[in-house]
Symmetry: C2
Subunit: 145 residues, 2 copies
Amino acid sequence: MNIGEAAKGSGVSAKMIRYYEETGLIPPVARTEAGYRIYSDPDVHMLRFIRRARDLGFSVDGIRELLGLWRDHDRQSADVKRLALTHVADLRLKIRELEDMASTLETLAACCHGNDRPDCPILSELEAPTSLPTKTGKFRKQNGF
Amino acid sequence: MNIGEAAKGSGVSAKMIRYYEETGLIPPVARTEAGYRIYSDPDVHMLRFIRRARDLGFSVDGIRELLGLWRDHDRQSADVKRLALTHVADLRLKIRELEDMASTLETLAACCHGNDRPDCPILSELEAPTSLPTKTGKFRKQNGF
DNA sequence: GATAAGGGTTCCCACTGTTGGAAGGTCAAG
DNA sequence: CTTGACCTTCCAACAGTGGGAACCCTTATC
């Protein structure tokens, strides 16, 4: 099976398959004499695993670890669980940050008349932060996730 | 005031101030004879506005619009409000996606013994998605936000 | 056998936003 | 006059993904 079919079968674009191979997330596959990559069913299986993990928000590095555990038949499920729960904690943290942003903005928007006059509490707040409640205290995000 | 002081006073790093200038988010400022950028209090004020908007999760493009409204004394607060609420909707969408990921993973983790045995429902699910409930249906994220 | 369509291959660029560093000029204090 | 802390520009990198160019391969059709 060539890369296009593998892409269709796995839901991972051909571009990304090449990228994953280049960056070592997946091992290089065999090639035809002409240089075409050849994929087997297990390869596609692995690609689907990767896609599913991305769907769950794992970073490529996280997936690297997951793949390691997946391939390791002597793994301990505790390791997988820890990896998953760490990721859940990251997600929840990110959610809280976004939630804070959204609720702050919503509060401000609720105070804004939203008419044809120029005065607007949203701009006022951006201009001169009045330390509105931000449950987490720390506000600044540092990685896009 | 030079860029370092402006950075300290605004909370925007010198690097980012230069970047914002280069990309046209903020207009170029005056320079000393030696080429040092000179910032005034209003400049720092604007930088603080920008930083605050970034803290609320606005993209640079969003900030561009906000700045335009901020500077426009004939603006209509309705435009600001619309901008803000659109952003809130984006945030809430993203939150829902992350929430789905987190709850799916949490459900799976709860089913995982987390012991020294290798069998693990998390890996099983990644391997062969059993279409767990994902309230939104569409799952794949397409922009990092 | 020639040709065209629709693959594949590599490589480079763009995006978002931010950081890091190198090479070199400048300013203020000692 | 030197030293250290600034400033300047330029270049690279990060994570992931998409777009596209230039070129090769395969297959079907004429």
